[in-house]
């Protein structure tokens, strides 16, 4: 829900971008790229003002004016200096980058604890949830803006703007100063984009220097979508189409995310979509208006098809949406008995849920041997003739037949007690290459535990089975084995060969004075269970059985697996194989859900008391009146069904430090075993550095109701905090959570939030430099002021340098392409040491930088221990893998029930020293022995 309402809200907020793009691209035919810069300018101006206490609406107005100014500069450059409009836009956009940084003073300003526009809206909230209320307000604001913009284009000024774009020659002849109108139009467009930037910053809770990237393309996509959907009879329809396009575009992204698409591909698809549409519109630009619309629709369709094919190829879970080759799946069971039927039905249901629809993209051939082994083989032959892609044998007999005959295609078995006795494998992982599946036998030792709890003392138990079935043999043997631990339990067995014999055998066992039936899994007994019940009632003999799907069937206790699990798990294995995994690499799976059901009505009839301990453990209880109760009992150990839970690991961008940290989190969680114990699945989410995507991911996590969230990086923390007020959230890889605006202090933070602060050990590093280089004077640094982290580190370096008698020579850059030049400039000041700390821009080129410094014989010091392998001289830094592990520990505490509210944020810098002695030798520098001893790693 949050995801969709959020998409609607984002669509509204970005609609102002669409207005702007509509004015520049459609009215003035002026491809204006300035908007990539002005979007950020809007956010920057607003955030600075709002933090300073200005009224949010005034801040929006200020953003509007500032961005109009920026836009008018682009248009002036174009009209007065005759510079091509694209180039003019690029020039101003580039310039704005610096200006935006100056406005903000740093690269990221949090707005979480300030009174911004949406907080203001919320004051008038009559009690609705936050997002829907915002949606209602935005709908009204949007309607007003739509009317206002449409009205503008009806005024004399608006008419002259439209005429200037539509036919400049005619406009000039009508006495319109076309250049001036164009300047005004482009300025107005940028002003509107600025409003968008301003509102988005307030909505997402921060302004960031990088948030404007791609504005022009998304805006254009919105306009194009809107145009192709709405007929444009009037200016009102034109403007409405921009809003609708913007909303649809955001929905498309939300759908793609929801379907599990990697956001990194969204950019490419958006670009292709816009490109295709542009080509088609350019081709028919000479054509009449009507033709245009038709072609736009064609372009949309073409783009949608490209999108679909691409997604379908890359993401199997979108396969349901596109036409494709049908898969043929052959399912067969040995007989018509309840366990197997349940398995089959659950399998078919789960396949449908996974998107395999009969007749559309899948064909299911379902067969039943009706108890005849010869027929089983015939069914396998038939499947091979019918060229099925996968065989799904249900039951041991079918599995045996299939595994023997089929070698060239996958076989996925279900409801098999022990696949090892039929030699389809030696262990879960070492098995026939084309066979995998789901198995499990009721643990008879635990069954006996239950039996002896109810009937303590020496007892005699009876069992019935069909010795011709391998499966039953396995189960009976496992019961006999379990009985070795119960010397005062005597065992009596009775064999059957078909269901009509069951009553007689059961009656005979009752006759032999057994105290209870303990029935191992057996297909014949299953289908004739009523006979056992009937035979047992005269003598009030309790039955312990394993048909957990029918606890009211007459047994006192049912204990075992629900075969729904078996079918479901098998379907998921089939799905994995259809998506390309090899059966050889898929281990056999055991059933996941075990059920203990107790029938109190039967207990009453038999005059038996059930120990409280068992009642507490039971997952299903049939009460005295015979109705099913859901028991509150949860079992302590493996096997009892736990609801599946999900943990989202949310990383903002791909860089070494964050990757390592995320890896640490994953490893920590996996090794602890908590995932298996608590049945938790992890989704690793990645925004690839894109802000709107990060936004949508945060909304998605909330709307999909994840149970736990772990964020890696400052931006993912900020975005998530803004949307999520409930789900427990642990953050990592954040230098300063207080500066990021998510907490007031380490103990005063949102109730659902805690985490790790990991400042770079900058001061220790500078102290270390003094120790290793007693005579050094100048430290050289290159850093990118757009990175918050880098800025914090640089500031600390300056202070520490003063303290230890160094001078810092710095050069600022905005991207890796400027590093070479920056280095030349730094070298001009003859640094004794070169230092990089917390700067991801520079970090990405450390090997080449280290190489160049080596030629100049300048030792290179960094704050990332792994850099030692890239040619650095000394590294002292946080071990981010360790940070990840520590984060996992915090997450585990929360999973185990601790409340984040009571857990202070921890500052954690696991210092790790690495040294390069071969470089030391080369430079003729001696490194103190105690340091060498302290180092975690030394390159010789």
């Amino acid at each position: 829900m949050e995801l969709w309402v959020g998409a609607l809200n984002l669509g509204f907020l970005y609609a102002f971008v669409a207005f702007g793009i509509y004015i520049t691209f459609r009215i003035h035919d002026f491809p204006d790229i300035t908007v990539d810069g002005t979007f950020t300018t809007g956010a920057a101006v607003t955030s600075v003002l709002v933090v300073a206490g200005t009224h949010p609406l005034l801040a929006v107005l200020a953003s509007f004016v500032a961005c109009m100014a920026a836009g008018s500069i682009t248009a002036l450059i174009n009209t007065r200096l005759n510079v091509n409009s694209l180039l003019a836009g690029i020039l101003v956009m580039t310039g704005l980058y610096s200006i935006n940084l100056h406005i903000m003073g740093r690269s990221n300003i949090p707005l979480l604890n300030t009174s911004e526009f949406f907080t203001l809206l919320n004051r008038a909230n009559p009690g609705l949830p936050h997002e829907p209320w915002t949606a209602i307000c935005l709908t009204l604001i949007m309607a007003a803006s739509w009317l206002a913009v449409s009205f503008f284009f009806k005024t004399d000024l608006g008419l002259s703007m439209r005429a200037s774009g539509n036919n400049p020659i005619m406009a000039r002849a009508a006495g319109i100063n076309v250049d001036r109108v164009k300047i005004f139009g482009v300025a107005l467009a940028n002003g509107l984009v600025g409003i968008s930037g301003s509102l988005v910053a307030q909505y997402q809770g921060f302004a960031d220097i990088g948030m404007g990237i791609g504005t022009v393309v998304t805006g254009l996509a919105s306009v194009i979508i809107g145009e192709s959907i709405l007929k444009k009879h009037s200016i009102y329809a034109w403007i409405a189409s921009a809003v609708i396009g913007s909303v649809i575009f955001r929905f498309m992204i939300a759908i793609a995310l929801y379907a599990g698409m990697d956001p990194v591909d969204l950019k490419l698809l958006t670009a292709i979509f816009v490109l295709v549409t542009l080509i088609v519109t350019a081709k028919i630009a000479k054509g009449a208006g009507k033709v245009k619309r038709k072609h736009l629709v064609t372009a949309m369709a073409a783009a949608a098809i490209i999108f679909g094919i691409f997604a379908g190829v890359k993401y199997g879970n979108l396969t349901a949406f596109i036409p494709q080759k049908k898969v043929k799946i052959g399912i067969f069971q040995v007989s018509d008995n309840p366990i197997l039927n349940i398995t089959r039905d659950a399998f078919l249901d789960e396949m449908k849920r996974l998107g395999y629809v009969e007749g559309k993209n899948a064909t299911f051939l379902v067969e039943n041997a009706n108890g005849d082994i010869a027929t089983v083989n015939a069914i396998v032959d038939k499947f091979l003739r019918d060229k099925v892609d996968i065989l799904v044998p249900i039951s041991t007999a079918c599995t045996q037949a299939a595994s023997r005959k089929v070698k060239d295609r996958p076989v996925v078995f279900a409801t098999v007690a022990n696949p090892f006795v039929i030699e389809v494998g030696k262990t879960d992982t070492d098995h026939l290459p084309n066979v995998t599946g789901v198995y499990g036998a009721v643990p008879m030792d635990r069954t006996m535990e239950i039996v002896t709890k109810i009937l303590p003392g020496p007892i005699k138990i009876g069992a019935i089975w069909d010795p011709s079935q391998a499966n039953s043999e396995v189960n009976v043997n496992s019961l006999k084995k379990a009985l070795q631990n119960y010397p005062d339990v005597t065992f009596v067995g009775g064999n059957v060969s078909n269901s009509s014999e069951v009553y007689q055998v059961a009656a005979s066992l009752v006759q032999r004075d057994i105290d209870a039936f303990v029935l191992p899994t057996d297909n014949i007994v299953y289908s004739a269970f009523d006979s056992v019940v009937k035979a047992s009632r005269n003598r009030k003999v309790p039955i312990i059985f394993n048909d957990v799907d029918h606890p009211e069937g007459g047994a006192l206790v049912v204990f075992g697996y629900t075969y729904v699990t078996s079918g479901k798990q098998a379907a998921n294995l089939v799905d994995r194989i259809l998506k390309g995994e090899k059966p050889a690499s898929i281990p056999f799976e055991r059933y996941r859900e075990i059920v203990l059901g107790i029938n109190l009505k039967v207990a009453e009839e038999l005059g038996l008391a059930i120990p409280r301990e068992l009642l507490e453990k039971a997952t299903v209880i049939i009460d005295e009146s015979g109705t099913r109760q859901k028991s509150g009992g949860t079992s302590s150990r493996e096997g009892t069904p736990l609801p599946a839970k999900r943990l989202a690991l949310f990383q903002f961008t791909d860089n070494v430090i964050l990757d390592i940290c995320a890896e640490g989190v994953l490893d920590g969680l996996k090794k602890s075993g908590v995932l298996d114990r608590q049945n938790i699945a992890i989704d690793h989410k990645m925004a690839h550095g894109d802000f709107p995507t990060a936004q949508s991911i945060a909304q998605e996590m909330v709307s999909k109701n994840y149970d736990y969230i772990v964020t890696v990086s400052t931006v993912s923390l900020q975005v998530t905090v803004n949307h999520n007020k409930k789900i427990p959230h642990v953050f990592a890889a954040v230098t300063d959570p207080l500066k990021a605006g998510v907490a007031k202090s380490f103990t005063d933070h949102p109730a659902n939030l805690t985490g790790l602060a990991t400042p770079q050990p900058v001061e220790s590093t500078v102290r270390l430099m003094r120790k290793v280089f007693p005579k050094a004077r100048v430290i050289g640094m290159i850093w990118n002021p757009a990175e918050v982290n880098s800025e914090i580190c640089t500031v600390i370096t300056r202070e520490a340098a003063k303290k230890y008698g160094f001078k810092v020579v710095e050069v600022q850059i905005t991207g890796t392409q400027e590093i070479d030049q920056a280095l030349q400039s730094v070298l001009g000041d003859k640094p004794d040491i070169f230092f990089t700390s917390g700067d991801t821009t520079v970090s990405s080129v450390i090997p080449s930088l280290a190489q160049k410094l080596r030629q100049k014989r300048i030792p290179y010091v960094t704050n990332t221990p792994a850099d030692i392998d890239s040619g650095a001289f000394i590294c002292l830094g946080a071990d981010y893998y360790d940070v990840g592990l520590k984060t996992a520990d915090i997450a585990i505490r929360i999973i185990n029930g601790e409340k984040p509210a009571a857990m202070p944020i921890v500052s954690y810098v696991p210092e790790q020293l690495t040294l390069n002695l071969s470089l030391a030798k080369e430079f003729g520098i001696t490194i103190p022995d105690d340091l060498i001893r302290k180092a975690a790693r030394v390159v010789k």
Partner: protein, 270 residues
């Protein structure tokens, strides 16, 4: 009304594409006079009209209109008192805007354009009456976009938009050349009516010898950026096209025209 003295214009000076388009034009046009211009392709007729309208500034020479020197005045500034109709019916109107909006734009010529919806119901009624005069059944289609009209309808509308504010000067550049004969005749008739009604000072380029002789008070012949001949006086309308060709033969004797040029004129105009 219009006084052009020693006007020179070169395009793309100093490049391979250099064109010396106007080579010292001297021309006087009286108030209320209706001047027609003929000449071969590329002789500079349209350029002369552009010079009057102020599309560019001269290399040398001056233009004065109504006694005021036009130096430094851009086209949109002169548009207050100069109206133009082009050959291409697509050029005079904004295709994606409605008839009413187009007329309103022309009406607002020379007036400040504010942030108010000037196209009121009263104005619309007024425009409807104007459009009715065109006799093109457009009066009920004020809300339709120009894109849905035929070339003749567009050109008639452009003409209306050009004259409705009673400009000092009306410039017509082969404004019927792209129309079918029937529409062309309609537009010519409208032109005569409007010029007569408002007494406009008019300069018209034409591709038709008949039009040149039948319309207007004076005809000039342009060649290679110069005015080489002038036909005026009462007997102008009595001349036939053969008379005109005789005049060209005379020009040839004076070596102002070559034989090929005459041949070209004959081809273009007869």
């Amino acid at each position: 009304m219009i006084r052009i003295s020693d006007y020179h214009k070169t395009f793309n000076a100093g490049t391979l594409n250099e064109v010396y388009a106007l080579r010292g034009i001297n021309l006087r046009i009286q108030e209320g006079e209706f001047l027609t211009i003929i000449g071969t392709n590329g002789s500079g007729k349209s350029t002369l009209l552009n010079a009057i309208a102020g599309t560019f500034q001269p290399d040398r020479g001056t233009i004065a209109i109504g006694g005021k020197d036009m130096a430094g005045k851009a086209d949109f500034q002169r548009a207050r008192f100069i109206s133009r109709v082009f050959q291409n019916p697509f050029m005079g109107t904004a295709p994606d805007m409605t008839i009413a909006e187009n007329i309103h734009l022309a009406f607002m010529r020379g007036k400040p354009r504010h942030l108010i919806p000037g196209l009121t119901r009263e104005r619309r009624d007024l425009y409807r009456e104007e459009v009715r005069m065109l006799e093109m059944q457009l009066e009920d289609r004020l809300g339709n976009t120009i894109g849905t009209l035929s070339g003749g309808q567009r050109q008639a509308l452009t003409l209306l938009m050009a004259v409705m504010n009673e400009p000092k000067v009306l410039l017509l550049d082969e404004h019927t050349a792209a129309l079918d004969p029937k529409s062309a005749a309609q537009v010519v008739a409208l032109t005569e009516r409007f010029v007569a009604r408002y007494g406009l000072t008019t300069v018209m380029i034409t591709h038709s010898m008949q039009q040149a002789l039948a319309l207007g008070t004076r005809t000039i012949l342009m060649h290679k950026g110069q005015v080489i001949e002038e036909i005026a006086g009462k007997d102008k309308s009595l001349l036939t096209t053969t008379d005109l060709l005789d005049r060209f033969a005379d020009l040839r004797k004076q070596e102002k025209l070559t034989a090929e040029m005459i041949e070209e004129m004959r081809r273009e105009y007869l």
